[in-house]
């Protein structure tokens, strides 16, 4: 697809959409937009080789789960284009970032803005925790730690078939607490799965709060390298750093970019809510008004006229 915006503009657009949605809906995954906006924007706007969307701009309602009696079932992967050999595939491993991913789809013209209005509404496919049938999703990843393994299997299969397309995973640092992540890295390294790429949002946050207060994980880069991956630390808000990191040679090894980020980036007000940032729900109407005013100013938009709800 032709880029009509700069990646910086896409990242700003993601933050604005997530902010506006959260103010309107009395809360949301705002901090994830702060930390991951550049990564998701970079993937969708420049790094991923994707075809034209194959699904309607306005998402269809929930069409049932996979079963033998549901022959018309399909995933939401069509928003990323067809699964053709030359194209890349993307898994959003922490499906809790779905709101950020949906905002990105809108910013790059793969989904209509109306799609976000369906977020977390009963009967909608635009689910709060991205499901297989949600826009831009191809597998269920709401259970954390399974994304990299699935991507490794797909990448092995694509390599075996001689497909040039890569398999990308957007990961979160909390996932390194799961043993399966390390099983996946060792398997990808052992089997030389070097068409597997990941970018990890290292924001040092998890549901209970700061990771250091929940379970210390140490030096992720050093651990990944010891398990056999090629891993690179970068500033996760620096697009040029991403562009350089992805060019890193990694023959026979998966490449994992560790994007160190701030969970308040672009919405400084959220720092007052530290360390509970996983899902920001307003504590009072006064706080909602304050956030609406201050974050809107920082993002360069008008405060949201959200009415009574």
């Amino acid at each position: 697809m032709l880029n009509s915006k700069t990646t910086d503009a896409v990242a700003l657009g993601i933050r604005r959409r997530v902010f506006e949605h959260s103010i309107r809906n009395n809360g949301g995954y705002m901090s994830q937009a702060c930390s991951a906006a550049e990564q998701i924007a970079w993937l969708y706007n420049e790094e991923l080789k994707l075809g034209q969307p194959t699904l309607p701009m306005i998402p269809k309602p929930f069409g049932g789960v996979p079963s033998a009696s549901n022959p018309d079932y399909h995933t939401g992967a069509g928003y990323n284009g067809p699964a053709a050999p030359q194209f890349d595939r993307l898994f959003i491993a922490p499906a809790h970032y779905a709101l950020v991913a949906y905002a990105a789809l809108i910013e790059v013209g793969r989904m209509a803005p109306e799609g976000l209005d369906m977020f977390n509404k009963d009967g909608s496919s635009v689910e709060m925790i991205g499901a297989e049938h949600s826009p831009g999703m191809e597998v269920h990843n709401g259970t954390l730690g399974i994304g990299l393994s699935t991507a490794a299997g797909l990448a092995w299969g694509r390599k075996r078939r001689g497909e040039p397309g890569r398999v990308w995973v957007f990961m979160s640092d909390g996932e390194v607490q799961e043993g399966q992540t390390w099983e996946a890295v060792q398997a990808a390294a052992y089997h030389g799965i070097d068409n597997l790429y990941a970018i990890m949002d290292v924001n040092a946050q998890q549901c209970d709060g700061a990771m250091s207060s929940v379970m210390e994980v140490g030096d992720i880069r050093a651990k990944l390298e010891l398990f056999g991956a090629r891993a690179i630390d970068i500033d996760g808000h620096d697009l040029d750093a991403m562009r350089q990191a992805v060019a890193e040679p990694h023959d026979g090894r998966p490449l994992i970019i560790l994007a160190h980020t701030s969970p308040f980036r672009g919405m400084s007000f959220l720092e007052r809510r530290f360390p509970r940032l996983h899902y920001v729900r307003f504590k009072s109407e006064q706080e909602r008004v304050e956030m609406n005013t201050e974050i809107a100013r920082e993002l360069g938009v008008e405060p949201v006229a959200y009415g009574e709800h």
Partner: protein, 334 residues
């Protein structure tokens, strides 16, 4: 006497996989234990070693399925659902990946004790949407399990026998059907896996005591042809005895009970198997006797069902010859 077949899976898998290049052989460090070591050595390009890491293996297999391959996972049954249950759900069962879960050492067929004995696998798998469940009861079924499993449009869990396996049948598994091994009119006996051989041992003694036995062997546990079972139940006077290498909750005893209850069948049902207990490590004959999974236990169950002692002794059962059984199976579709 019954023919014993050595390692029927080894040859059957190799033959099937070589003819089907989209089939991949995955193993989690139990390659020779699952009789695919020869395949690994002769066809390394079709073999993926994933080490002692079943969670990754399950999701990795989901990814392979997404890439259009049909992975056969080889490990002990317990390691296909206990440790990687979350991955089984999210990466395999929900998206209906064509992943073939080959679970070796079902129930008490291992001296490995609790950690190795898959005694509740059928119960777990039956409650998973999209899952198909097959169970092998003899060498012919083991020889046909790969083709049967690979015919399923979705995930399938198979209880596979290894080592020296008796040949009881001369026709392959036909998914969705059941084998009618005797068609008497007093008591219906329903068995699967290794308990079918026990029922064959018990049958002669039961018949000699004047009990007319109807006997069904199940190789397809899910999906299940409820109407076929109900027809058989309607054909017997007393009721049903099930015998399973599994806990009596959630396995074929429960399957029969649910089928009867759903249809309002008012006959008695006696469910034999592991009675709300773990087993421990020991030989198969010892465990089958100790936990009441053998031919003698089955005759006691029949006695209880018909309400009269039959006076069958261990000697009567030992003397009973197990002949090869010619299938009387009806052509019943899914």
């Amino acid at each position: 006497m019954v023919e014993m077949v050595s390692r029927p899976y080894a040859g059957a898998f190799e033959k099937y996989a070589v003819a089907n290049p989209e089939v991949l052989c995955l193993s989690a460090d139990l390659t020779s234990s699952c009789e695919v070591d020869g395949f690994r050595d002769r066809h390394p390009d079709q073999f993926i070693s994933l080490g002692m890491a079943e969670q990754n293996m399950m999701s990795f297999a989901g990814g392979l399925g997404l890439a259009g391959f049909r992975p056969f996972l080889h490990t002990f049954g317990v390691f296909l659902y206990r440790r990687p249950y979350d991955q089984l759900m999210a990466s395999v069962a929900y998206p209906r990946r064509k992943v073939r879960l080959m679970g070796f050492l079902p129930g008490i067929t291992t001296p490995g004790g609790m950690t190795h004995q898959a005694i509740e696998d059928i119960s777990v798998m039956r409650s998973i949407p999209n899952m198909t469940i097959l169970e092998t009861g003899d060498a012919t079924e083991v020889e046909s399990i790969c083709e049967a499993a690979d015919s399923i449009d979705g995930p399938v869990y198979c209880r596979v026998l290894r080592g020296s396996v008796p040949r009881l049948f001369d026709t392959p598994i036909k998914v969705g059907e059941m084998r009618e091994l005797a068609h008497g009119a007093d008591v219906l006996i329903v068995t699967a896996g290794i308990t079918t051989e026990e029922a064959l041992r018990a049958r002669a003694a039961l018949e000699a005591s004047g009990v007319s036995v109807r006997h069904l062997h199940l190789h397809t546990i899910k999906p299940f042809n409820a109407q076929a079972l109900l027809d058989h139940i309607a054909s017997v006077r007393h009721g049903v005895v099930t015998l399973e290498n599994h806990v009596t909750e959630g396995g074929i005893g429960s399957l029969v009970a649910e089928t009867m209850a759903d249809a309002g069948v008012g006959k008695r049902l006696i469910r034999l198997g592991l009675k709300d207990t773990y087993a421990h490590g020991g030989s198969k004959p010892y465990l089958m006797r100790f936990y009441g999974l053998d031919a003698l236990a089955l005759t006691r169950g029949v006695e209880s069902l018909i309400g009269q002692p039959l006076g069958i002794s261990e000697d009567d059962l030992d003397a009973a010859r197990v002949d090869a059984v010619h299938s009387l199976v009806k052509a019943e579709a899914l």
